[in-house]
Amino acid sequence: MVAESHAAHLSQFMKDVMADTPGGQKVVHCLQCGSCGGSCPNGAEMDFTPRAVFAMIAADRREAVLKANTMWQCVSCYLCTVRCPQEIPITEIMYTLKRMAIREGKAGGSDAPALARTFTDFVDRYGRSFEFGIATRYLLFNKPLSMLKMGGAGMSMFAKGRLALTPTKIRQVKQLQAIINKAKELSKED
Protein backbone atom coordinates (compact mmCIF):
# COMPACT_ATOMS: atom_id res chain seq x y z
CA MET A 1 0.00 0.00 0.00
CA VAL A 2 1.00 3.58 -0.50
CA ALA A 3 1.94 5.57 2.61
CA GLU A 4 -0.23 8.62 3.35
CA SER A 5 2.72 10.98 2.92
CA HIS A 6 3.31 9.67 -0.60
CA ALA A 7 -0.33 9.64 -1.66
CA ALA A 8 -0.44 13.45 -1.68
CA HIS A 9 2.24 13.54 -4.39
CA LEU A 10 0.63 11.08 -6.79
CA SER A 11 -0.65 12.40 -10.08
CA GLN A 12 -4.41 12.37 -10.60
CA PHE A 13 -3.90 9.95 -13.50
CA MET A 14 -1.95 7.59 -11.23
CA LYS A 15 -4.72 7.71 -8.62
CA ASP A 16 -7.33 6.91 -11.27
CA VAL A 17 -5.35 3.98 -12.67
CA MET A 18 -4.85 2.61 -9.16
CA ALA A 19 -8.52 2.97 -8.29
CA ASP A 20 -9.69 1.22 -11.48
CA THR A 21 -7.31 -1.75 -11.36
CA PRO A 22 -7.57 -4.62 -8.86
CA GLY A 23 -4.10 -4.70 -7.26
CA GLY A 24 -3.27 -1.51 -9.12
CA GLN A 25 -1.65 0.22 -6.09
CA LYS A 26 1.54 -1.60 -6.98
CA VAL A 27 2.09 0.55 -10.05
CA VAL A 28 3.86 3.13 -7.84
CA HIS A 29 6.58 0.57 -7.18
CA CYS A 30 7.69 0.44 -10.83
CA LEU A 31 11.51 0.41 -10.91
CA GLN A 32 11.72 1.35 -14.60
CA CYS A 33 13.64 -1.89 -15.22
CA GLY A 34 12.01 -2.52 -18.60
CA SER A 35 11.43 -6.27 -18.13
CA CYS A 36 7.88 -5.72 -19.38
CA GLY A 37 8.70 -4.11 -22.72
CA GLY A 38 11.61 -6.50 -23.24
CA SER A 39 9.35 -9.51 -22.68
CA CYS A 40 6.42 -8.25 -24.73
CA PRO A 41 5.84 -10.10 -28.02
CA ASN A 42 4.44 -6.86 -29.44
CA GLY A 43 6.71 -4.39 -27.62
CA ALA A 44 8.38 -3.26 -30.85
CA GLU A 45 5.00 -2.16 -32.23
CA MET A 46 4.06 -0.03 -29.21
CA ASP A 47 4.27 3.78 -29.16
CA PHE A 48 5.53 3.46 -25.58
CA THR A 49 6.42 0.25 -23.76
CA PRO A 50 4.62 -0.41 -20.46
CA ARG A 51 7.69 0.86 -18.55
CA ALA A 52 7.47 4.21 -20.33
CA VAL A 53 3.70 4.29 -19.83
CA PHE A 54 4.13 3.90 -16.06
CA ALA A 55 6.59 6.83 -15.99
CA MET A 56 4.10 8.88 -18.03
CA ILE A 57 1.26 7.97 -15.68
CA ALA A 58 3.38 9.21 -12.76
CA ALA A 59 4.01 12.42 -14.73
CA ASP A 60 0.25 12.85 -15.33
CA ARG A 61 0.56 12.65 -19.14
CA ARG A 62 -2.99 11.37 -19.47
CA GLU A 63 -3.72 12.53 -23.00
CA ALA A 64 -0.51 11.07 -24.50
CA VAL A 65 -1.00 7.70 -22.78
CA LEU A 66 -4.70 7.33 -23.61
CA LYS A 67 -4.08 8.19 -27.27
CA ALA A 68 -1.14 5.77 -27.55
CA ASN A 69 -1.47 2.39 -29.22
CA THR A 70 0.28 0.62 -26.32
CA MET A 71 -2.71 -1.01 -24.65
CA TRP A 72 -4.29 -1.90 -28.00
CA GLN A 73 -1.12 -3.74 -29.00
CA CYS A 74 -1.32 -5.76 -25.77
CA VAL A 75 -2.38 -9.33 -26.59
CA SER A 76 -3.06 -10.28 -22.94
CA CYS A 77 -0.34 -12.92 -22.87
CA TYR A 78 0.62 -11.97 -19.29
CA LEU A 79 4.34 -12.57 -19.83
CA CYS A 80 5.15 -9.09 -18.42
CA THR A 81 2.88 -9.76 -15.46
CA VAL A 82 4.63 -12.96 -14.41
CA ARG A 83 8.07 -11.41 -14.96
CA CYS A 84 7.56 -8.05 -13.23
CA PRO A 85 9.90 -8.03 -10.20
CA GLN A 86 7.53 -5.63 -8.44
CA GLU A 87 4.47 -7.81 -9.13
CA ILE A 88 2.61 -5.03 -10.91
CA PRO A 89 -0.51 -6.45 -12.63
CA ILE A 90 0.64 -4.96 -15.95
CA THR A 91 -1.86 -6.74 -18.21
CA GLU A 92 -4.72 -5.63 -15.95
CA ILE A 93 -3.45 -2.04 -16.12
CA MET A 94 -3.52 -2.33 -19.93
CA TYR A 95 -7.22 -3.30 -19.63
CA THR A 96 -7.79 -0.26 -17.36
CA LEU A 97 -6.15 2.00 -19.95
CA LYS A 98 -8.30 0.50 -22.72
CA ARG A 99 -11.46 1.21 -20.71
CA MET A 100 -10.32 4.75 -19.88
CA ALA A 101 -9.42 5.49 -23.52
CA ILE A 102 -12.85 4.32 -24.70
CA ARG A 103 -14.67 6.18 -21.92
CA GLU A 104 -12.79 9.42 -22.58
CA GLY A 105 -13.10 9.17 -26.37
CA LYS A 106 -9.35 8.78 -26.99
CA ALA A 107 -9.33 5.34 -28.60
CA GLY A 108 -9.82 6.50 -32.18
CA GLY A 109 -6.49 5.21 -33.49
CA SER A 110 -7.24 1.49 -33.14
CA ASP A 111 -9.77 -0.92 -34.60
CA ALA A 112 -9.67 -2.96 -31.39
CA PRO A 113 -12.56 -1.10 -29.68
CA ALA A 114 -14.77 -1.78 -32.72
CA LEU A 115 -13.90 -5.47 -32.58
CA ALA A 116 -14.64 -5.55 -28.84
CA ARG A 117 -17.98 -3.82 -29.32
CA THR A 118 -19.02 -6.06 -32.20
CA PHE A 119 -18.11 -9.15 -30.18
CA THR A 120 -20.00 -8.11 -27.05
CA ASP A 121 -23.04 -6.89 -29.03
CA PHE A 122 -23.56 -10.45 -30.25
CA VAL A 123 -23.07 -11.90 -26.77
CA ASP A 124 -25.49 -9.35 -25.29
CA ARG A 125 -28.07 -10.46 -27.82
CA TYR A 126 -27.60 -14.25 -27.96
CA GLY A 127 -25.55 -15.19 -24.91
CA ARG A 128 -22.99 -16.87 -27.13
CA SER A 129 -20.26 -15.59 -29.36
CA PHE A 130 -20.97 -15.83 -33.10
CA GLU A 131 -17.71 -15.98 -35.03
CA PHE A 132 -19.15 -15.59 -38.52
CA GLY A 133 -21.35 -12.64 -37.57
CA ILE A 134 -18.56 -10.92 -35.67
CA ALA A 135 -16.01 -11.37 -38.44
CA THR A 136 -18.29 -10.22 -41.25
CA ARG A 137 -19.77 -7.23 -39.44
CA TYR A 138 -16.44 -6.07 -37.99
CA LEU A 139 -14.47 -6.52 -41.22
CA LEU A 140 -17.20 -5.01 -43.39
CA PHE A 141 -17.27 -1.79 -41.36
CA ASN A 142 -13.60 -1.58 -40.44
CA LYS A 143 -11.46 -3.51 -42.91
CA PRO A 144 -13.41 -4.31 -46.08
CA LEU A 145 -10.18 -5.19 -47.91
CA SER A 146 -9.29 -7.86 -45.36
CA MET A 147 -12.55 -9.56 -46.18
CA LEU A 148 -11.33 -10.25 -49.68
CA LYS A 149 -7.93 -11.46 -48.44
CA MET A 150 -9.61 -13.80 -45.96
CA GLY A 151 -12.06 -15.07 -48.56
CA GLY A 152 -10.07 -18.21 -49.43
CA ALA A 153 -9.37 -19.33 -45.88
CA GLY A 154 -12.94 -18.44 -44.94
CA MET A 155 -14.32 -20.67 -47.69
CA SER A 156 -12.05 -23.51 -46.56
CA MET A 157 -13.31 -23.12 -43.01
CA PHE A 158 -16.87 -23.20 -44.33
CA ALA A 159 -16.14 -26.30 -46.43
CA LYS A 160 -14.69 -28.02 -43.35
CA GLY A 161 -17.86 -27.27 -41.38
CA ARG A 162 -16.01 -24.90 -39.07
CA LEU A 163 -18.11 -21.81 -39.79
CA ALA A 164 -21.62 -21.76 -38.33
CA LEU A 165 -23.81 -19.39 -40.32
CA THR A 166 -26.41 -18.89 -37.63
CA PRO A 167 -25.87 -17.93 -33.99
CA THR A 168 -26.73 -20.16 -31.04
CA LYS A 169 -29.01 -18.54 -28.50
CA ILE A 170 -29.06 -19.57 -24.86
CA ARG A 171 -32.46 -20.37 -23.29
CA GLN A 172 -32.24 -17.84 -20.47
CA VAL A 173 -31.05 -14.93 -22.58
CA LYS A 174 -33.43 -12.60 -20.70
CA GLN A 175 -31.76 -13.54 -17.43
CA LEU A 176 -28.32 -12.77 -18.89
CA GLN A 177 -29.57 -9.45 -20.22
CA ALA A 178 -31.02 -8.52 -16.82
CA ILE A 179 -27.58 -9.23 -15.29
CA ILE A 180 -25.78 -7.19 -17.97
CA ASN A 181 -28.17 -4.25 -17.65
CA LYS A 182 -27.84 -4.18 -13.88
CA ALA A 183 -24.02 -4.35 -14.16
CA LYS A 184 -24.04 -1.47 -16.66
CA GLU A 185 -26.23 0.59 -14.35
CA LEU A 186 -24.00 -0.11 -11.33
CA SER A 187 -20.81 0.69 -13.24
CA LYS A 188 -22.06 4.23 -13.79
CA GLU A 189 -22.22 4.80 -10.03
CA ASP A 190 -18.64 5.84 -9.35
Partner: protein
Protein backbone atom coordinates in the same frame (compact mmCIF):
# COMPACT_ATOMS: atom_id res chain seq x y z
CA UNK B 1 -14.95 -34.54 -7.12
CA UNK B 2 -17.68 -34.03 -9.69
CA UNK B 3 -16.91 -32.21 -12.90
CA UNK B 4 -19.08 -29.74 -14.77
CA UNK B 5 -17.95 -28.98 -18.32
CA UNK B 6 -17.79 -25.50 -19.83
CA UNK B 7 -17.04 -26.05 -23.54
CA UNK B 8 -17.05 -22.39 -24.60
CA UNK B 9 -18.34 -20.90 -27.85
CA UNK B 10 -15.45 -21.90 -30.12
CA UNK B 11 -15.98 -25.57 -29.38
CA UNK B 12 -19.50 -25.34 -30.82
CA UNK B 13 -18.32 -24.37 -34.31
CA UNK B 14 -14.77 -23.45 -35.32
CA UNK B 15 -13.19 -25.89 -32.89
CA UNK B 16 -15.70 -28.74 -32.97
CA UNK B 17 -12.75 -31.13 -33.31
CA UNK B 18 -11.64 -30.16 -29.80
CA UNK B 19 -15.11 -30.78 -28.35
CA UNK B 20 -15.47 -34.09 -30.17
CA UNK B 21 -12.08 -35.35 -29.06
CA UNK B 22 -12.56 -34.20 -25.46
CA UNK B 23 -15.80 -36.16 -25.24
CA UNK B 24 -14.35 -39.27 -26.90
CA UNK B 25 -11.27 -39.27 -24.65
CA UNK B 26 -13.28 -38.68 -21.48
CA UNK B 27 -15.58 -41.58 -22.34
CA UNK B 28 -12.65 -43.88 -23.09
CA UNK B 29 -10.99 -42.98 -19.79
CA UNK B 30 -14.28 -43.64 -18.00
CA UNK B 31 -14.99 -40.50 -16.05
CA UNK B 32 -17.89 -38.09 -16.08
CA UNK B 33 -18.00 -34.57 -17.46
CA UNK B 34 -21.48 -33.01 -17.37
CA UNK B 35 -22.02 -30.03 -19.65
CA UNK B 36 -23.08 -26.92 -17.73
CA UNK B 37 -26.69 -26.24 -18.64
CA UNK B 38 -27.35 -23.03 -20.59
CA UNK B 39 -23.84 -21.58 -20.12
CA UNK B 40 -23.05 -18.23 -21.72
CA UNK B 41 -19.99 -16.83 -23.50
CA UNK B 42 -17.08 -15.83 -21.23
CA UNK B 43 -16.52 -12.68 -23.31
CA UNK B 44 -12.88 -13.55 -24.09
CA UNK B 45 -10.89 -10.32 -23.67
CA UNK B 46 -13.62 -8.17 -25.18
CA UNK B 47 -15.85 -7.26 -22.20
CA UNK B 48 -12.79 -6.61 -20.02
CA UNK B 49 -11.62 -4.04 -22.60
CA UNK B 50 -14.85 -2.12 -22.15
CA UNK B 51 -16.40 -2.59 -18.72
CA UNK B 52 -14.93 -4.65 -15.89
CA UNK B 53 -18.15 -5.02 -13.94
CA UNK B 54 -20.11 -6.29 -16.97
CA UNK B 55 -17.20 -8.62 -17.79
CA UNK B 56 -17.14 -10.19 -14.33
CA UNK B 57 -20.94 -10.37 -14.03
CA UNK B 58 -21.30 -12.17 -17.37
CA UNK B 59 -18.66 -14.69 -16.31
CA UNK B 60 -20.07 -15.03 -12.79
CA UNK B 61 -23.39 -16.20 -14.25
CA UNK B 62 -21.60 -19.38 -15.37
CA UNK B 63 -20.08 -19.96 -11.93
CA UNK B 64 -23.53 -19.44 -10.39
CA UNK B 65 -25.08 -22.00 -12.76
CA UNK B 66 -22.89 -24.83 -11.44
CA UNK B 67 -25.29 -26.83 -9.28
CA UNK B 68 -24.58 -28.35 -5.86
CA UNK B 69 -23.80 -31.76 -7.31
CA UNK B 70 -20.65 -30.42 -8.97
CA UNK B 71 -17.64 -28.78 -7.34
CA UNK B 72 -15.29 -28.49 -10.35
CA UNK B 73 -15.75 -26.53 -13.56
CA UNK B 74 -13.56 -27.76 -16.41
CA UNK B 75 -12.71 -25.57 -19.38
CA UNK B 76 -10.74 -26.72 -22.43
CA UNK B 77 -10.26 -23.20 -23.89
CA UNK B 78 -7.50 -20.94 -22.58
CA UNK B 79 -9.55 -17.73 -22.54
CA UNK B 80 -12.57 -19.35 -20.86
CA UNK B 81 -10.32 -21.01 -18.28
CA UNK B 82 -8.57 -17.78 -17.37
CA UNK B 83 -11.76 -15.71 -17.31
CA UNK B 84 -13.61 -18.13 -15.04
CA UNK B 85 -10.64 -18.47 -12.71
CA UNK B 86 -9.82 -14.77 -12.70
CA UNK B 87 -13.41 -13.86 -11.89
CA UNK B 88 -13.64 -16.31 -9.00
CA UNK B 89 -10.42 -14.81 -7.60
CA UNK B 90 -11.60 -11.22 -8.11
CA UNK B 91 -14.86 -11.96 -6.30
CA UNK B 92 -12.95 -13.54 -3.41
CA UNK B 93 -10.41 -10.73 -3.07
CA UNK B 94 -12.21 -7.53 -4.10
CA UNK B 95 -15.24 -6.90 -1.86
CA UNK B 96 -16.22 -3.80 -3.84
CA UNK B 97 -16.50 -5.73 -7.10
CA UNK B 98 -18.18 -8.66 -5.35
CA UNK B 99 -20.87 -6.43 -3.85
CA UNK B 100 -21.83 -5.15 -7.27
CA UNK B 101 -21.59 -8.51 -9.03
CA UNK B 102 -23.86 -9.93 -6.32
CA UNK B 103 -26.44 -7.27 -7.17
CA UNK B 104 -26.10 -7.90 -10.90
CA UNK B 105 -26.52 -11.67 -10.41
CA UNK B 106 -29.50 -11.04 -8.14
CA UNK B 107 -31.16 -9.14 -11.01
CA UNK B 108 -31.14 -12.49 -12.79
CA UNK B 109 -32.23 -14.42 -9.69
CA UNK B 110 -28.77 -15.96 -9.16
CA UNK B 111 -26.11 -15.99 -6.45
CA UNK B 112 -22.55 -17.24 -6.18
CA UNK B 113 -20.19 -17.68 -3.25
CA UNK B 114 -16.56 -17.22 -4.36
CA UNK B 115 -14.50 -20.38 -4.02
CA UNK B 116 -17.49 -22.74 -4.17
CA UNK B 117 -16.46 -23.94 -7.61
CA UNK B 118 -12.92 -24.88 -8.48
CA UNK B 119 -12.05 -23.80 -12.01
CA UNK B 120 -9.74 -26.27 -13.75
CA UNK B 121 -8.15 -26.55 -17.15
CA UNK B 122 -8.76 -29.86 -18.88
CA UNK B 123 -5.01 -30.61 -19.06
CA UNK B 124 -4.76 -30.27 -15.27
CA UNK B 125 -7.67 -32.67 -14.76
CA UNK B 126 -6.22 -35.25 -17.16
CA UNK B 127 -2.69 -34.90 -15.80
CA UNK B 128 -3.43 -34.63 -12.09
CA UNK B 129 -6.78 -36.33 -11.41
CA UNK B 130 -6.69 -39.11 -14.00
CA UNK B 131 -2.91 -39.34 -13.95
CA UNK B 132 -0.05 -41.26 -15.48
CA UNK B 133 -0.95 -44.80 -14.42
CA UNK B 134 -4.58 -44.69 -15.52
CA UNK B 135 -3.70 -43.13 -18.87
CA UNK B 136 -0.74 -45.42 -19.57
CA UNK B 137 -2.89 -48.45 -18.78
CA UNK B 138 -5.27 -47.49 -21.60
CA UNK B 139 -2.71 -46.79 -24.33
CA UNK B 140 -3.20 -49.25 -27.20
CA UNK B 141 -1.44 -47.31 -29.97
CA UNK B 142 1.81 -45.83 -28.63
CA UNK B 143 2.84 -42.70 -30.52
CA UNK B 144 6.33 -44.05 -31.08
CA UNK B 145 8.27 -42.23 -33.79
CA UNK B 146 5.97 -39.23 -33.89
CA UNK B 147 7.69 -35.94 -33.07
CA UNK B 148 5.20 -33.69 -31.32
CA UNK B 149 5.72 -30.03 -30.34
CA UNK B 150 3.55 -29.27 -27.28
CA UNK B 151 2.26 -25.71 -27.47
CA UNK B 152 0.84 -24.13 -24.31
CA UNK B 153 0.26 -20.55 -25.44
CA UNK B 154 -0.44 -17.91 -22.83
CA UNK B 155 -3.56 -17.96 -20.77
CA UNK B 156 -3.49 -21.56 -19.60
CA UNK B 157 -0.10 -21.07 -17.97
CA UNK B 158 -0.27 -17.35 -17.09
CA UNK B 159 -0.87 -15.67 -14.74
CA UNK B 160 -3.02 -17.83 -12.46
CA UNK B 161 -2.41 -21.37 -13.53
CA UNK B 162 -1.27 -22.94 -10.26
CA UNK B 163 -0.42 -26.30 -11.84
CA UNK B 164 2.55 -25.63 -14.10
CA UNK B 165 5.44 -23.23 -14.69
CA UNK B 166 4.28 -19.99 -16.35
CA UNK B 167 7.25 -19.75 -18.71
CA UNK B 168 8.52 -23.28 -19.09
CA UNK B 169 5.55 -25.57 -18.56
CA UNK B 170 6.07 -29.33 -18.69
CA UNK B 171 2.75 -31.12 -18.03
CA UNK B 172 1.77 -31.60 -21.66
CA UNK B 173 5.35 -32.65 -22.49
CA UNK B 174 5.19 -35.26 -19.75
CA UNK B 175 1.81 -36.55 -20.82
CA UNK B 176 3.06 -37.18 -24.33
CA UNK B 177 6.11 -39.07 -23.10
CA UNK B 178 3.59 -41.36 -21.29
CA UNK B 179 2.05 -41.96 -24.71
CA UNK B 180 5.39 -42.89 -26.26
CA UNK B 181 5.78 -39.82 -28.49
CA UNK B 182 9.07 -38.05 -29.10
CA UNK B 183 8.47 -34.73 -27.40
CA UNK B 184 10.20 -31.76 -28.98
CA UNK B 185 11.74 -29.36 -26.47
CA UNK B 186 11.55 -26.07 -28.37
CA UNK B 187 11.92 -22.56 -26.95
CA UNK B 188 8.60 -20.94 -27.88
CA UNK B 189 6.14 -23.38 -26.34
CA UNK B 190 4.60 -20.73 -24.08
CA UNK B 191 5.00 -17.74 -26.40
CA UNK B 192 2.01 -15.86 -27.76
CA UNK B 193 0.14 -16.81 -30.98
CA UNK B 194 -1.14 -13.24 -31.39
CA UNK B 195 -4.64 -13.86 -30.07
CA UNK B 196 -7.14 -11.53 -31.73
CA UNK B 197 -4.32 -9.50 -33.34
CA UNK B 198 -5.07 -11.22 -36.68
CA UNK B 199 -8.23 -9.09 -36.73
CA UNK B 200 -6.56 -5.84 -35.73
CA UNK B 201 -3.10 -5.74 -37.21
CA UNK B 202 -2.56 -8.74 -39.47
CA UNK B 203 1.11 -8.25 -40.21
CA UNK B 204 2.01 -8.17 -36.50
CA UNK B 205 0.02 -11.32 -35.98
CA UNK B 206 1.67 -13.07 -38.94
CA UNK B 207 5.10 -12.47 -37.39
CA UNK B 208 4.01 -13.92 -34.04
CA UNK B 209 2.56 -16.99 -35.80
CA UNK B 210 5.66 -17.35 -37.98
CA UNK B 211 7.93 -17.50 -34.91
CA UNK B 212 6.00 -20.48 -33.56
CA UNK B 213 5.88 -22.39 -36.85
CA UNK B 214 9.55 -21.64 -37.55
CA UNK B 215 10.71 -22.88 -34.18
CA UNK B 216 8.65 -26.09 -34.34
CA UNK B 217 9.92 -26.72 -37.90
CA UNK B 218 13.55 -26.03 -36.87
CA UNK B 219 13.20 -28.70 -34.21
CA UNK B 220 11.78 -31.10 -36.84
CA UNK B 221 8.35 -31.47 -35.26
CA UNK B 222 5.83 -33.54 -37.25
CA UNK B 223 2.96 -31.57 -35.75
CA UNK B 224 2.04 -29.04 -33.09
CA UNK B 225 -0.24 -29.98 -30.19
CA UNK B 226 -2.43 -27.20 -28.94
CA UNK B 227 -4.91 -26.66 -26.14
CA UNK B 228 -6.73 -23.50 -27.18
CA UNK B 229 -9.13 -22.78 -30.08
CA UNK B 230 -7.57 -19.39 -30.80
CA UNK B 231 -4.05 -20.82 -31.02
CA UNK B 232 -5.28 -23.58 -33.33
CA UNK B 233 -7.13 -21.10 -35.53
CA UNK B 234 -4.17 -18.74 -35.81
CA UNK B 235 -1.57 -21.39 -36.64
CA UNK B 236 -3.84 -23.52 -38.87
CA UNK B 237 -6.19 -21.17 -40.70
CA UNK B 238 -3.54 -18.46 -41.16
CA UNK B 239 -0.66 -20.82 -42.02
CA UNK B 240 -1.25 -20.37 -45.77
CA UNK B 241 -1.31 -16.60 -45.49
CA UNK B 242 1.80 -16.62 -43.30
CA UNK B 243 3.52 -18.68 -46.01
CA UNK B 244 2.46 -16.19 -48.68
CA UNK B 245 3.52 -13.22 -46.60
CA UNK B 246 7.00 -14.50 -45.66
CA UNK B 247 7.53 -16.74 -48.66
CA UNK B 248 7.88 -19.76 -46.38
CA UNK B 249 6.70 -23.32 -46.94
CA UNK B 250 5.40 -24.44 -43.58
CA UNK B 251 3.12 -27.43 -43.70
CA UNK B 252 2.65 -28.21 -40.04
CA UNK B 253 -0.58 -29.84 -38.87
CA UNK B 254 -1.99 -28.13 -35.77
CA UNK B 255 -4.05 -30.58 -33.73
CA UNK B 256 -5.66 -30.55 -30.30
CA UNK B 257 -3.79 -32.57 -27.67
CA UNK B 258 -6.98 -34.50 -26.99
CA UNK B 259 -7.06 -35.66 -30.63
CA UNK B 260 -3.61 -37.23 -30.31
CA UNK B 261 -4.37 -38.58 -26.84
CA UNK B 262 -7.40 -40.22 -28.47
CA UNK B 263 -5.24 -41.81 -31.16
CA UNK B 264 -3.00 -43.29 -28.46
CA UNK B 265 -6.09 -44.63 -26.67
CA UNK B 266 -7.08 -46.41 -29.87
CA UNK B 267 -10.11 -44.25 -30.71
CA UNK B 268 -11.05 -44.08 -34.39
CA UNK B 269 -9.69 -40.89 -35.99
CA UNK B 270 -13.14 -39.98 -37.37
CA UNK B 271 -14.50 -39.80 -33.83
CA UNK B 272 -11.71 -37.42 -32.89
CA UNK B 273 -12.59 -34.72 -35.39
CA UNK B 274 -9.59 -35.21 -37.66
CA UNK B 275 -10.04 -33.76 -41.14
CA UNK B 276 -11.37 -30.42 -39.95
CA UNK B 277 -7.91 -28.86 -39.78
CA UNK B 278 -6.82 -26.97 -42.92
CA UNK B 279 -3.30 -28.41 -42.88
CA UNK B 280 -4.10 -32.13 -43.04
CA UNK B 281 -2.89 -34.11 -40.03
CA UNK B 282 -4.06 -37.63 -40.86
CA UNK B 283 -1.49 -38.50 -43.58
CA UNK B 284 1.39 -37.34 -41.35
CA UNK B 285 0.16 -39.29 -38.34
CA UNK B 286 -0.67 -42.46 -40.28
CA UNK B 287 2.64 -42.26 -42.16
CA UNK B 288 4.69 -42.06 -38.98
CA UNK B 289 2.75 -44.60 -36.93
CA UNK B 290 2.43 -47.17 -39.73
CA UNK B 291 6.10 -46.70 -40.63
CA UNK B 292 6.93 -47.52 -37.05
CA UNK B 293 4.72 -50.63 -37.00
CA UNK B 294 6.28 -51.82 -40.27
CA UNK B 295 9.80 -51.32 -38.87
CA UNK B 296 8.88 -53.23 -35.70
CA UNK B 297 7.56 -56.29 -37.60
CA UNK B 298 10.65 -56.59 -39.83
Amino acid sequence: MKYAYYPGCSLESGSAAYDKSVKAVIEQLGFGLDELDDWNCCGATEYFSQNELVATSVIARNLALVDDRHDQLVAPCAACFLNLKKTDKLLAEQPKIRGKVDQALAAGGLRYRPGRVQVRHLLDVLYTDIGEQAIKAKVVQPLTGLRVAPYYGCQIVRPLNGFDNPEYPMKLDEMFTWLGAEVVDYPVKAHCCGGHMTQISEENAFELIRRLLQSAADYRADLILCMCPMCQLNMDMYQGRVNNFFNTKFKLPIVYFTQMLGVALGIDMKKLGFGKELVAAEPVIRGKLEGQTAAATK
